[in-house]
């Protein structure tokens, strides 16, 4: 997928001006966050926090020995009949999938949700090669009809309202409009059913790779994942290399956190552990199973300043708790991953210079860090990225100069006292009788676009304190 993150500012402005989107975002609001809070309470808050510690530790253990666990996964998966392929980057993912299609004569693919296929731009590549692709996750299906990318990693069409979906269905299904959600869902199911039955390739993501058994674990809420991975002749699971965990025991710990953190569910509706293709005597399953392990920038994070980011289990809690995300929506971020995790991943994978705004577009409020099931210190990582921007000379000249001047003055109390004394008087005067400023000049303009600036009282604390002390003495 193309990276449009350099245009965050304009995209966000567009999102703010889009009333329909704003209404949809408001409706989404704190829904998932409230459900997570309820699930955490029901689980026991202390136990939940212990589980978060344990989960972070499990992920770090796996990442600390990533190459070894991946080789173990490959060996165990191969032993059970799965073919493991390795992809360096997005292009190689597409090449490998097309290669499998060619070798097995596959012409039609059904997909369950896979953010990695978004990274790879897989749908376009398959379409260009003449392979018909149908998304089967309801949200992804809606977006395929609309020709849009996901705006949330677990609720991809959260930015759309029911009327928009209904209009899309009328246009593409040619059936009369309905405002009954159950009927719309049934309609989608009816349209998708023949695709499930006629596809010869199923493409899925993978939530976890279990090294000790060579299994791919997949969670969904709609059951489409189960059909995608068992009905067609060939199944390809595409996942990032960081998704590997050592044992089934680890899987059970992490999957107690994933649904609770994501949607507040105790467990997802469907939880599959896929270990190899159909064996003789099995009731179902594909004839061939492939796992494509994708790097696409991940190995560059191992052991580095952003290494904690690799713990991510893609639950979406950070965006559900992010007030910036809830204000501008997922599309503003300009690449596959939105919200706090996207603001780290996009510059990390696509180049710091290609996403300059993302690490800056955060208040560092810490809500994401507190919600993250694997305790990724997202605000710290965003700050680290800001530091990298400064170190590489990627900040605007004016900003650097302003900080230099400020730091220079703040180290010299007499100069600082003099400057603040003038500033306090000047701003106080500008505030007039009402004590507030409607338009600040220069950099301050950003503030007064949507707010007044409350004027200072007129004298600095230190001034008044000094005078008061003299008087008292």
């Amino acid at each position: 997928m193309q990276v449009a993150s350099l245009h965050f500012r304009e995209r966000a402005a567009g999102a703010l001006a889009n009333e329909r989107l704003q209404a949809n975002l408001r409706r989404f609001g704190s829904g998932f966050a409230d459900k997570r809070a309820a699930a955490r309470r029901a689980f026991g808050e202390e136990a939940f926090e212990q589980l978060r510690d344990a989960a972070a530790e499990i992920r770090d253990r796996a990442l600390g020995d990533l190459d070894a666990w991946l080789l173990r996964f490959e060996a165990e998966a191969s032993r059970r009949g799965t073919t493991v392929l390795w992809a360096q980057d997005a292009d190689e993912v597409c090449r490998l999938v097309l290669e499998v299609c060619r070798r097995h004569g596959l012409a039609k693919a059904i997909k369950s949700k896979s953010m990695l296929s978004e990274e790879a731009g897989l749908n376009d590549a398959l379409g260009a090669a003449g392979v018909n692709v149908v998304e089967t996750d309801l949200g992804e299906y809606i977006l395929q009809l609309a020709g849009e990318p996901p705006s949330h990693i677990i609720a991809p069409a959260i930015h759309k309202d029911q009327d928009e979906v209904s209009a899309l269905f009328v246009k593409h299904h040619g059936r009369p409009a309905t405002d009954d959600i159950a009927r719309m869902t049934r309609e989608a199911r009816e349209v998708l059913r023949p695709h499930f039955l006629s596809a010869d390739l199923g493409i899925s993501g993978g939530n976890f790779l279990v090294a000790e058994t060579g299994s791919v674990a997949i969670v969904t809420n709609e059951g489409n994942g189960r059909m995608v991975t068992t009905l067609p002749r060939v199944h390809i699971a595409i996942t990032g290399i960081e998704k590997v965990i050592p044992t089934l025991e680890d899987l059970s710990a992490l999957n107690r956190l994933l649904p609770r953190s994501a949607t507040g569910q105790d467990i997802e509706n469907y939880f599959s552990i896929l270990t190899g293709p159909r064996a003789p005597g099995d009731a179902d399953g594909p004839e061939h199973m492939f796992v494509i392990l994708v790097d696409n920038g991940r190995s560059g994070l191992v052991g580095g300043a952003l290494k904690e980011m690799l713990r991510c289990i893609r639950c979406g809690a950070c965006m559900n708790h992010c007030p910036v995300y809830q204000t501008v929506g997922g599309h503003s971020y300009g690449w596959v991953y939105p919200g706090p995790m996207g603001s780290v991943l996009t510059p990390a994978y696509q180049g710091i210079e290609n996403a300059l705004d993302l690490p800056q577009a955060a208040t560092l409020c810490g809500a994401c860090h507190v919600a993250c099931p694997v305790k990724i210190p997202l605000p710290d990582l965003l700050r680290t990225l800001r530091e990298m921007q400064t170190d590489r000379g990627l900040r605007p000249w004016g900003e650097r100069a302003a900080f230099r001047a400020w730091a220079f003055a703040a180290r010299r109390p007499w100069l600082y006292a003099w400057a603040t004394r003038i500033a306090a008087r000047l701003l106080h005067w500008m505030g007039g009788r009402r004590g507030r400023i409607a338009r600040l000049p220069l950099a301050g303009r950003g503030w007064t676009l949507g707010r007044d600036f409350p004027a200072p009282e007129g004298r600095t604390f230190r001034d008044l304190y000094r005078v008061g002390r003299k008087r008292r003495a």
Binding site: L16, R386, W447
Partner: protein, 241 residues
């Protein structure tokens, strides 16, 4: 006990009366309060903007100025958080400076946290009547865990009624330079916060950080709300004196 009052750069410039209120509260709690005259800023703007050298230079200055005291208190969760949590990161891996930074961190407190948990202030000097709602500032809440202290202190005022708003813990959209760099997003976030405040039905929103205060007040007034008051918790606790 000798307490060094770190007034913070925003209080110094914008709202001296909050500095005096903090001073009064500390004295009411029986502390001997000293205000080092050369203090300026804790370095947080540099730290949050990725300018480590600038942040570091100021951190060294603050450490040298404040290490003689038994305690350091600031009427701000984010400045106290900077000293308590981030100085350690700033000097990570450096022997002598790290030791000094950690020693300072250990005795630095946000004002209400200090008044309740260290100085054990029994009676507050102010008189305030009316309904208030409390906005939890991000750094105070999530870096320092300050949730109960301001509420406990407010509850000591006989005439006050606290009406909690929904999403009291959600960021108001200030975020330091974020409020200028992304003024439109920041103002939209402030608007969401203002709506929660207004929906609480309280006559005043009380909080513990200058940044949030200016942000919320600025948005309320711009949106035409001239009546909802925006007050620092120290002002409320010393009101009417």
């Amino acid at each position: 006990m000798r307490v060094g009052l770190f007034v913070t750069c925003l209080v110094d410039l914008m709202r001296p009366r909050i500095g005096f209120a903090a001073l009064e509260l500390l004295e009411a709690a029986g502390c001997e309060v000293v205000v080092p005259g050369g203090q300026t800023c804790c370095g947080q703007p540099g730290w949050n903007s990725g300018d480590r050298p600038a942040a570091r230079a100021l951190a060294e200055k603050v450490i040298a100025e404040f290490e003689p005291f038994d305690y350091v208190v600031a009427p701000s969760g984010s400045c106290a958080g900077m000293i308590k949590v981030h100085y350690r990161e700033l000097f990570a891996g450096e022997g002598a400076w790290l030791t000094r930074a950690e020693a300072l961190a250990a005795k630095t407190y946000e004002l209400t946290d200090f008044l309740v948990n260290v100085a054990r202030l029994q009676q507050v000097p102010g008189r305030f009547a009316g309904t208030v709602t409390y906005h939890d500032s991000c750094a105070g809440l999530r870096e320092l865990g300050v949730k109960q202290p301001p509420r406990a202190l407010l509850a000591k005022l006989p005439g006050i009624e606290l009406r909690e708003m929904k999403d009291a813990e959600v960021c108001c959209g200030f975020g330091g330079t974020f409020s200028i760099k992304f003024g439109d997003i920041s103002a939209a976030m402030a608007q969401a916060k203002c709506e929660r405040i207004q929906a609480s039905g309280a006559g005043a929103v009380v909080l513990g950080d200058l940044g949030c205060m200016l942000n919320i007040e600025g948005r309320l007034r711009r949106a035409g709300d001239e009546t909802t008051r925006v007050l620092h918790v120290a002002e409320v606790l010393t009101a009417g004196k």
